[in-house]
């Protein structure tokens, strides 16, 4: 039983066409479905129905984020645990959401709506299962990451939120940033992906989305992605650079409606018993951006 990985993020946009154009042509995602008010998108290597839902709404923001659990029976177990913690849960039955079966939804202590699901409609990646080439066709538009990787949300009380993800949802802390009084300013949490983080929580307003990240295979792809972003006039927030926390290579940038995206690679292997790494407040700059060693106020204060 446990949390497997990030499955999809559902966000709101006041300009569905502009957002769809950016995510398909610049980011290079595949549009898999469109309804009157929603666009569903996925990366080329993802086998799930979608990893991003964009819904028309006058105000930009996050509707919810969804993690896949390890086994079908886990939903019932998590429902009991989350209820016992004091968060009311809602069951969404099959047919209640596009591309997936039954799920549970609840508000995490920092105010975001989280969803857990096992039954996801598997539509396959673009390579197939029979003598597949190891790379997608060379003419995919945009950056074309193979998959979504992780996300970061804000919380006013990072420690409270972290304990929910660790004690109730069973995720593992891999790294933390502590202030001078020993309070957690940020935590990095892994499901069962053996990677440094599937979700991170950093001090900031409750309910806020900081960013979600797409995986790229190496630093050279990060560099090429920066070229693509600059060519298309996308506003780059940070990078290309290196994180101290997670050791990852990264670029942060904003979609046309101001939602922060990241492309990420690197990291390290995490066993279930790997010890936690701790960053102290005086090293927070290096922890965030190892080369620059500065704490960017835009990075910490801007969110969706």
């Amino acid at each position: 039983m446990g949390i497997l990985r990030l499955a999809h993020v559902d966000v709101r946009t006041p300009d569905l066409d502009l957002s769809a154009a950016y995510y398909t042509e610049v980011m290079g995602l595949q549009q898999v479905a469109r309804t009157d008010d929603c666009v569903y998108l996925k990366c080329w290597d993802e086998e799930d129905h979608h990893s991003l839902r964009m819904r028309y709404n006058p105000r930009t923001g996050m509707d919810s984020f969804t993690f896949r659990v390890e086994e079908e029976d886990d939903l019932h177990e998590f429902e009991k645990k989350v209820e016992a913690y004091g968060c009311p849960t809602t069951r969404v039955s099959r047919g209640g959401a596009v591309g997936q079966g039954e799920s549970i939804r609840f508000e995490v202590p920092s105010g975001q709506i989280m969803e857990l699901v096992w039954d996801i409609e598997k539509t396959g990646n673009i390579l197939g299962k029979h003598n597949p080439s190891p790379v997608p066709p060379p003419d995919l538009p945009g950056i074309a990451p193979p998959r979504m990787d992780h996300m970061l949300v804000n919380a006013e009380e990072v420690a409270e939120s972290a304990s929910f993800f660790i004690d109730v949802l069973g995720m593992r802390m891999t790294e933390q940033v502590l202030d001078g009084n020993g309070h957690q300013l940020g935590v990095w949490l892994a499901g069962n992906t053996r990677s440094p983080h599937d979700i991170a929580i950093v001090n900031g307003p409750n309910g806020a989305l900081h960013h979600w990240a797409y995986w790229l295979d190496d630093w050279d792809h990060i560099r090429k992605a920066a070229d693509t972003l600059a060519f298309n006039g996308v506003q780059i927030d940070q990078g290309p650079t290196r994180h101290g926390v997670t050791r990852g290579n990264t670029i942060y940038f904003f979609d046309p409606l101001g939602i922060r995206n990241e492309v990420f690679t690197g990291g390290y292997w995490v066993d279930p018993d790997t010890e936690i790494l701790t960053w102290t407040e005086d090293n927070f700059g290096k922890g965030l951006f190892y080369y620059e060693n500065v704490i960017s106020q835009r990075f910490l204060r801007m969110h969706t």
Binding site: M1, G2, I3, L4, R5, D45, E47, R68, E70, E71, K81, K122, K129, H130, N131, P132, S133, P134, V135, P146, R147, G170, M171, R172, G191, N192, T193, R194, D217, D218, W219, D220, R242, H243, G244, R247, T265, G266, Y268, W269, D271, P272, T274, E275, I276, L277, T278, W279, T280, N283, K286, G287, Y290
Partner: protein, 312 residues
């Protein structure tokens, strides 16, 4: 709450035989860039214990002096100590004799372990509690990598590739008794498995097997962070006069980037990066016999004879 349903976490270590222990140790520490952590003597044979820089545990490669080369055994890391009992019961119920060893009984830093033979004659170990000695970085404010590494210095061991006369029996043993999951397979025209790729770590493979002599080692592989690291490693290998079996290229199976080469005793090593994520319910990928060249070496579409025939 358990945070994983996988009882086996990953490959823990390999113990390989080398006729010249000092030469092999020089190669693994100075060219490959592993760290020597201990030496001992067991059953009259001296051994050298090695680890990669980012590994937290005492050893991932053990060299044992012996008249021949090849694999002594493979060892997989268990999530919990209770998993030793789980697998003992399961294997014994299937008629597989299991031997149990206390912590440190098998060598310095060694965890509690069980050992048994796979149908192919390979000695397999499952272990828990290998001594943790830390990677080379502090736990507080760690830089992303150490500065004083020697040689290629891969961060960790990644996977193992062995040979078996009956690939299907080997695969059934690993999937049914050891709970591995099949990610890819190469099928002969008559439908039988020529090679299979098996995982526990949500990667394309922790162990793979291809048709060949029972008990044989094809190679063991170290992880590199990216393709550029593989290219630089090939420069280092060529500079040191290491016999390169396959220059840097791309696999179809696993999608990985790779280079193959031989240690001074003739055990094949690989440096590997890339691959993809797999969920536990991943539908396996199938390669057909006529596409085997492309499956193994995607660019050249053919496999050199040495790759199929040379093993240790």
């Amino acid at each position: 709450m358990a945070t994983t349903s996988d009882r086996i976490i990953r490959l823990q270590h390999v113990e390989v035989r080398v006729p010249d222990l000092e030469l092999a140790t020089a190669y693994y520490t100075e060219v490959l860039g592993l760290l020597e952590t201990a030496r001992d003597e067991r059953d009259g044979a001296p051994r050298v214990f090695l680890k990669c820089w980012d590994e937290r545990e005492h050893h991932s490669v053990i060299l044992r002096e012996a008249p021949t080369h090849g694999l002594d055994h493979m060892s997989f890391k268990l999530n919990e100590a209770a998993d030793l009992d789980h697998f003992t019961a399961k294997l014994e119920a299937a008629g597989v004799p299991v031997k149990r060893f206390a912590a440190r009984e098998l060598g310095p830093g060694w965890g509690e372990a069980i050992r048994f033979d796979a149908p192919s004659g390979h000695l397999v170990e499952l272990t828990h509690g290998t001594e943790r000695i830390g990677n080379m970085l502090p736990k507080t404010n760690p830089p992303p990598r150490p500065q004083d590494l020697i040689g290629i210095a891969p961060p960790r061991l990644d996977h193992l590739f062995v040979m078996a006369e009956d690939v299907e029996a080997f695969t059934a043993f690993f999937t049914e008794l050891l709970e591995f999951r099949l990610t890819e397979q190469i099928l002969a025209n008559d439908g039988h498995q020529l090679a299979t790729f098996l995982e526990h770590s949500h990667t394309p493979h922790d162990i793979a097997v291809i048709t060949g002599p029972n008990g044989a080692l094809h190679h063991f592989a170290f992880w590199m962070d990216d393709w550029n690291g593989i290219r630089e490693a090939a420069d280092a290998l060529a500079y040191h006069g290491v016999t390169i079996d396959v220059a840097p290229t791309r696999h179809g199976v696993t999608r990985g980037y790779t280079t193959y080469f031989f240690d001074p005793s003739g055990n094949r090593n690989e440096l590997f990066t890339g691959g993809y994520w797999v969920d536990p319910d991943f539908e396996p990928i199938t390669w057909t016999e006529e596409e085997m060249g492309r499956a193994i070496f995607y660019y050249h579409r053919q496999v050199n004879e040495r790759f199929f025939t040379v093993h240790s």
